[in-house]
Amino acid sequence: MESVGGSDSAACWEVDLSQVRALIDAAAVGDEWPDWVAALLHGARIADVNELGLQLVGSSVARGLMIGQPVASFCPPESWTILAELIVAVATDRPDHGVRRSAIDSFMFRNATLSVWGAPGDAAPDMLWVAVDGEMAEDRSFWAVRASEQRYRRLLHHLPGALLQVDARAMGAIFYQLRSEGVTDLTPYLKMDGELIAAAHNLVRVTDANQGAMHLFGAASLDEMMGAIGYVFAADPEVARRVVIAHFEGRRTLVEVMKLRTLDGRERDVQLTVTFPTPPERLDVSLMSFEDITDRLRTEAQLRQLQADYSRAARISMLGELATSIAHEVNQPLSAIVTNAETSQRWLSKDEPNLAKVAQLTARIADSARRASDIVQRIRGMAARRAPERVPLDLNEIVHEALVFVGHELETRSILLTLDLDPCLPPVAGDRVQLQQVVVNLILNAAQALGRGGPDRRIALCTTRTLDASVAFAIDDNGPGISEADLDRIFDSFFTTKEEGVGIGLAICQSIIAAHGGTIEACNHREGGALFRFTLPVADA
């Protein structure tokens, strides 16, 4: 029974202990530490394996992959301690190295027994044999496993979508080495060591692929897809890094959106899902599935473009409503500039020019010119065609910037404005101009609801932090409020109660807030008048 190849009723491995001799001696005298079992089974290498042993953990073609690998890679973790203790007992049982046995759970055998023995005498003290034996489980018989493998291959090949079967076991040994060197977080380690990802590109291998994968990758034959996995991540190396980190951290699955360069040179956007195996699954089978999302992303981009165009159109319409206010605001500094310049000329044409006065007037001209330019810049910002961005923003600042646009309008309408802004707001992630647009729209909406006549017309703005990690903005007025019938459709496009309105203001507010992951609502508050409130999620730190 000493020849591994000769045993056909048991799965049998020959194990080389030469790298863990010192560890075994230490364990034998009770000098153990918490990880000694893992260290021993990672240091103990497989020297040979019989056919049943191959079937038990892999497939018959796996011999080359198995030889030289750590025992730990092929032993279910629940049996690690039993196996390690048996190895220590046999290895230190000089000179007989007689057989020791222990019952274990096995998916292939009923009443399974784990046996460990060595050659008598000390001719080869570092070589032991390990066998798993028992009553073959009927549904898990050799042929059942083989048939199940066939079914699995058929399944893989006929599943829709693009699937790659990947053998990433080589990374297990590397990860063990890293852990034994004290690496617990791979992210900073990878910043220093660029070699690991390059090594993974070669060590991790594609072992099977289905029709969908061949189609997606533009492969003419299956052979083109087999072997080193590097080509999968050629256009997006950063994703390879995250896959390695997820594997190191023992995650079960990872989903990534990535760029894929196909074998025939096209570029596609795909969503990659990686499923890593855990015992007792076959450790040589990691699965990668790819969903081609190129068309979906293109449609989404077009949709975003449409939304951006729509919101810009609404901003320009809003600027139109504010045109009189804005014209007045620009005209004031221009008017001051003209008068100051003419006054300067009058001083200079006198017999004794008052140069100090001219200097003062010139400084005022510069100030007014800057003011006019600032106003023009702000308007240009509102009217510009640009892609929305996501940056951390202080909502209170947004409110102040919005008031630059509508402050004069409120003053002209003699509306009293009160502000109650929480000074400790966390930032929100968003587009400055779009959020300004929302606030301007809501203020303008309230101002128009208040009409032009009547005393004591008020608008109150308020910002707060909510309990569910959001930031809220609320605006209420003491106008007529919203009729019950209108409440349900107030955010609909082209709904308006104003004769001059086209009804996109509130609709665009809702679409902008929704695109920012927030919500907006309208109601009437108890003391009469309308109340609009939106919330935005706090930006990730």
Partner: protein, 130 residues
Amino acid sequence: MSSPPLIAVVDDDEAVREALCDLFQVEGLSARGFEGAAAFLHGYAPNRFDLVITDIRMPQVDGFEFLRRLRTVEAAPPAIVLTSLSDDATRAQAVAEGARACLTKPVTDAALLELVGSILGRRATDAPEG
């Protein structure tokens, strides 16, 4: 002997106020700025000002309302409207509310000074001998 003419400049925009006061100063006229109608009316004393120049778009009390209130005070000075609003309706309403003239901003110094001069000169001749 009558004191030199004094002009009130009513505009919520400080830059505009200062510019107009300086323009009158270079021509030897005295002017005082007010940031709104309320500020002007608050300390109103008859015969103190010889002319009022006012904007239309102002917070709280706008220019039209100011002209209305000005008609109710004793010995109201003549008023000129100086506004960014250049439409005929504004001009007509300003005159209807009692303004002597309505000029559009930005105004040329010559036009403004000529108008001011003619009103002040007429006022000087109108003034009762005393």
